[in-house]
């Protein structure tokens, strides 16, 4: 039954079945009724971790190391316990930022660096090549073995067969075609491959079933249960030794530890694992079920590993059959054709699952993170003019798939024989483990920088190359073996398997220690001693603080630039097609209560960020960044500006405080202004009053003058006596008018400060005597006596002598005016007191009442306003006198009681002798 064509047919039938399942799942997804939105499907899809390596290789490992095969499965189980913290965070970050691959994740975290994305892609591709070659080897080997039925012959050396006759080559090509059909039929904005996930879940079931079947067969069919099997194994000393954990493992503790750690990294950072766990995840809650379902699967698929291993070792004579093939050869040796076929299909299933997912993941990375950034940068102008780039993207991916598989085949031919399956796989594990520091550091530590990540990855990868990949090539005779044995150029310290003298470890452990040291060391050192750009800062916050943020708006805060909605639509349509762009714009508008395209959308920071995120879902964060930057006139925010934006918020509080203070000051100023305004208005009013009063005072004498003048003119017959009287009045009123005008002008000059003040030496004795003699005649007429009391000599004062005389005359004439004729007595006294000269003018008139005392110094006010006798005078005299005395630095005041006369006094300060200017000689 196991003829070649049967096997081939069955294989194609199985593959066809997988394809049908995928197709059906895609149809359901397009119709909106996805079948993979189930936590069970999700958990099963995670089981793509178990490849042909698990299927064949774990038995092989168990056969040589006994329990030592376990760390590779303990690791994931342990890791999954930590998933609640780590994976949840990665999931959340990836959803928010539309991460499309592992390279995209790392590039995005470290400032959307296209360079970093490219480096990660290269490391991933090179690192996974051994793993892919492993699958090719498994399929071709198992095919060859099954073909030889009923004989059991181990496959010959690989390079003995020409390429075109090499099964593995054709397997590679067929798998390439299959993968292209699976994963590149169209471009999905979120990189979901629903069909692929459904097919993987199915094949996980198939391989589990096959393994359990053969395990049950060996345990219960060939032997009589676990007890019987282990009993017999115990009887064999070599097998017995393998049953104790530590002794059976090369390298002891260290090896166990490192293998466990290695597989913990693998379950996270193998591109296919990242793809199914993170990218293909549709609901964060599925993680909760996966955390216990997946370990359960692991347990199930490993139950029979030891039994099969021991069974094979016991069954076949030593060294005749490769332990890797026990799962196949045991049923074959027992003539179980159907079972053998099932096992073959199981192995095929495991291998194809791995290849499909891994290659799709890798091709996405190659397209988004390696090729597209370069293309966009190089042919920027031309690419921008092409309106639909989906064809180009798909083409790049298909090319990448073919390329990766061919490279895998190449590795298979070059180095596939060097190690057993397990070791080959571990080499790949060690490669992807290099991503652990930058990813774990990236999501928990904001201090990691782009340069640090580059440094860490480069260092780790370099060590990996040197300690694992090159020796593999050397062992296959592609590099001189001396290179391993003696070190490059004979330098013993640089021996690839014993770097710097570290001996006694198995190769993987050795490589892991050194690569992790280099990786973590470089990452930390360069990050701590370097600086971060504004982009890195923002991305670091977005990633590390993802659980603290309110959704996708977080990334838009620190952005500044101008954009247009049509431009953004075009760029989105170019990669998602117009249907995709419309759908995205609809979602955005809907979230804001608008409808697209009827309502206008504003191209603000939030919108540009939204478009960029959508774009990133199709072509990766780094490429999206480039595209958006080319469409939008962006102004680069330096870190200082970002800091400024943040500072501004805190400054607003301080600013409002200052504003409050300012407004209080303003109120105070307003009150002051109002008061000043009131004062000005008062002064204005006073001025108006003054003008009005002066007008009145001028017009009054004018009235008499005019009236009498007209009378005399009209009537020539006025008698002589009256005529004389009238002319007298005219003359007197004219004089009165003149006096008034003079005084008003005088006052005006003094008040406006335009008067000329002399500053000469003044002898008050002279002033007094001059004044008295001027008044002499008038006093004699009216019978008033004047007495003067002056000292012999007085110090001179400095001032305007004419003005001082004016004051003296005014006071004296007032005194004369108010004295009773015939009985008046005026006394003038001069004295020196406290640096001042004082003059008193006392009269024995009626005195001045207190009310009048208050007003006589005011303008136009005179004592006696209330009397029926209106006294002569302008009312300005005393006012002007006060101004004059004040100008000289003295004071003028009155003391009086009604009925007891009045005494007017003024003081003048005595100047120091040398300050006095003598008057010019007269």
């Amino acid at each position: 039954m196991l003829q070649g064509w049967v096997i081939v047919l069955t294989s194609f039938a199985y593959l066809g079945l997988l394809f049908a399942i995928a197709f059906y799942a895609d149809q359901r997804a397009d119709a909106g009724r996805s079948i993979i939105a189930s936590p069970y499907v999700y958990s099963l899809s995670l089981a793509v971790y178990a490849t042909a390596w698990t299927f064949y290789g774990s038995v092989g490992r168990a056969a040589s190391d006994g329990v030592g095969f376990l760390p590779i499965y303990i690791g994931p189980t342990l890791m999954i316990a930590l998933w609640w913290v780590v994976m949840r965070k990665i999931l959340r970050i990836s959803k928010q930022n539309r991460i499309t691959s592992l390279a995209d994740f790392i590039a995005s975290r470290y400032g959307k660096s296209a360079l970093l994305g490219g480096v990660v892609t290269v490391i991933a591709v090179i690192g996974i090549l051994p793993y892919i070659s492993l699958q090719l080897k498994a399929i071709s080997s198992s095919f060859t073995i099954v073909l030889q039925y009923p004989q059991i012959i181990m496959p010959g050396k690989v390079d003995a067969v020409p390429v075109l006759q090499d099964t593995a080559f054709w397997v590679a090509l067929i798998l390439a075609a299959f993968t292209i059909a699976f994963g590149t039929r169209h471009l999905d904005a979120a990189e979901h491959h629903e069909g692929m996930v459904a097919a993987i879940a199915f094949e996980s079931l198939v391989k589990l079933l096959a393994f359990l079947a053969v395990g049950a067969f060996v345990t219960f069919g060939i032997y009589n249960g676990f007890g019987d099997l282990f009993g017999r194994a115990a009887g064999d000393p070599k097998l017995n030794a393998m049953m104790t954990p530590l002794d059976g493992v090369a390298g002891g503790y260290a090896s166990w530890v490192w293998l466990t750690i290695l597989s913990m990294m693998a379950i996270m950072f193998l591109p296919r694992q990242f793809q199914v766990t993170v990218i293909e995840n549709v609901n964060e809650k599925h993680l909760n079920k996966a955390i216990w379902l997946f370990p359960l699967y692991m347990l199930a698929i490993n139950i029979f590993v030891l039994p099969i291993a021991f069974g094979g070792l016991l069954h076949f004579p030593e060294g005749t059959v490769d332990a890797d093939t026990f799962v196949l050869t045991l049923p074959m040796s027992e003539k179980q054709e159907l079972l053998a076929l099932l096992v073959f299909i199981g192995g095929l299933s495991a291998a194809t699952g791995m290849v499909i997912v891994e290659t799709i993941a890798l091709s996405t990375m190659v397209c988004n993170d390696l090729v597209m950034p370069v293309l966009l940068r190089l042919q920027r102008l031309r690419l921008n003019e092409r309106s639909d780039l989906t064809g180009l993207l798909l083409g790049i991916r298909r090319g990448a798939i073919v390329g990766i598989l061919l490279l895998g085949y190449l590795y298979f031919r070059l180095a596939g024989e060097a190690y057993a399956l397990v070791s080959i796989g571990l080499i790949s594990f060690a490669a992807v483990a290099q991503f652990a520091p930058v990813v774990l550091g990236g999501i928990f530590w904001k201090g990691g920088t782009r340069l640090g990540a580059l440094a860490g990855l480069s260092a780790g990868f370099a060590v990996w190359l040197y300690t694992l990949l090159l020796p593999a090539l050397a062992r296959s005779d592609w590099l001189p073996i001396r290179f391993i044995e003696d070190g490059p150029f004979g330098i013993a310290l640089l021996k690839p398997l014993e770097l710097f003298g570290l001996t006694g470890l198995d190769q993987i452990t050795h490589a892991m220690i050194w690569s992790m040291l280099a990786n973590i060391g470089a990452y930390l050192a360069v990050s701590v001693w370097g600086t971060r750009s504004a982009d890195e800062h923002r991305q670091a916050s977005l990633f590390v603080d993802v659980f603290g943020q309110a959704g996708e708006a977080g990334g838009a805060r620190f952005w500044r630039g101008t954009a247009s909605v049509p431009d953004l639509y075009n760029v989105l349509a170019r990669f998602l097609g117009s249907a995709g762009a419309d759908s995205a714009f609809n979602d955005y508008a809907g979230a804001r209560g608008l409808t697209w395209p009827s309502d206008p959308l504003i191209a603000d920071a939030d919108f540009v960020h939204f478009v960029e995120v959508q774009l990133a879902g199709a072509i990766g964060a780094a490429s999206a960044r480039i595209m958006i930057a080319s469409v939008v006139k962006e102004e680069a925010l330096t870190l200082d500006e970002v800091r400024a934006i943040v500072d501004e918020a805190s400054q607003v509080v301080a600013y409002s405080h200052r504003l409050e203070q300012k407004s209080r000051e303003l109120e105070a100023a307003t009150t002051e202004l109002r008061a000043a305004n009131e004062r000005l208005k008062e002064l204005d009013r006073l001025k108006d009053e003054f003008v009005s009063t002066v007008t009145h005072e001028l017009r009054t004498p004018l009235t008499s003058i005019r009236a009498f003048s007209e009378i005399l003119r009209e009537d020539p017959n006025v008698d002589a006596a009256q005529r004389r009287k009238f002319l007298e009045i005219i003359t007197k009123e004219t004089e009165r008018l003149t006096r008034l005008i003079n005084q008003v002008l005088d006052l005006s000059k003094i008040e406006s400060g335009k008067a000329d003040w002399q500053e000469l030496r003044v002898d008050m004795r002279e002033v007094i005597s001059d004044t008295v003699s001027a008044m002499d005649q008038l006093c004699q007429e009216r019978g008033i006596q004047i007495e003067t009391r002056v000292p012999e000599r007085v110090p001179p004062v400095s001032g305007d002598v004419d003005r001082i005389i004016q004051v003296m005359l005014n006071l004296l004439s007032n005194a004369v005016k108010f004295c009773e004729a015939g009985r008046g007595r005026i006394e003038i006294a001069l004295s020196e007191r406290g640096g001042r000269l004082r003059v008193d003018v006392r009269d024995n008139g009626p005195g001045i009442s207190a009310e009048d005392q208050a007003i006589i110094f005011d303008k136009f006010r005179q004592a006696g306003d209330t009397l029926t006798n209106k006294p002569q005078g302008t009312g300005l005299g005393l006012h002007i006198c006060r101004h004059i005395i004040a100008h000289h630095g003295g004071e003028l005041w009155v003391e009086s009681r009604p009925g007891a006369g009045a005494c007017f006094s003024f003081t003048l300060p005595i100047q120091p002798a040398d300050a006095i200017v003598l008057p010019a000689a007269a």
Partner: protein, 124 residues
């Protein structure tokens, strides 16, 4: 019978001039030198016209005008307000208080007589 005119002003010279002028034009003249006196004489003599100066002691011309106009029996008396203040506001105030005429000093004798004649319907 001649018309009676009361001159109310505190400036003696102006009073003298007005007295001479009015008498020469055939009017009987009485004189008040302040507001209170003016009121008293108006009450007593019931002149036909009052020449009222505004700026007077004890009671201003405005007040006198107001009080005269308030009385029914004195309504017929013509009041001419004389003042040296010439602002429009003062003119309006006087007329608003009931004065028949408002004349600013200095005035033209001829004009004054003509106006008084007009008010008293006297043709010279």
């Amino acid at each position: 019978m001649g018309k009676q005119v009361l001159i109310a002003d505190d400036e003696p010279n102006i009073v003298t001039a007005l007295e001479f002028l009015l008498q020469r034009n055939g009017y009987e003249v009485s004189i008040a030198r302040n507001g209170d006196e003016a009121l008293k004489l108006i009450e007593q003599n019931r002149p036909d016209l009052v020449l009222l100066d505004v700026m007077m002691p004890l009671r201003s011309g405005y007040e006198v005008c107001q009080m005269v106009r308030a009385r029914e029996d004195l309504r017929h008396i013509k009041i001419v307000v004389l003042t040296a203040k010439g602002r429009p506001a003062d003119a309006n105030k006087g007329l608003a208080l009931g004065a028949d005429l408002y004349i600013t000093k200095p005035f033209s004798n001829r004009e004054l007589i003509a106006k008084i004649n007009g008010l008293l319907d006297v043709h010279s």
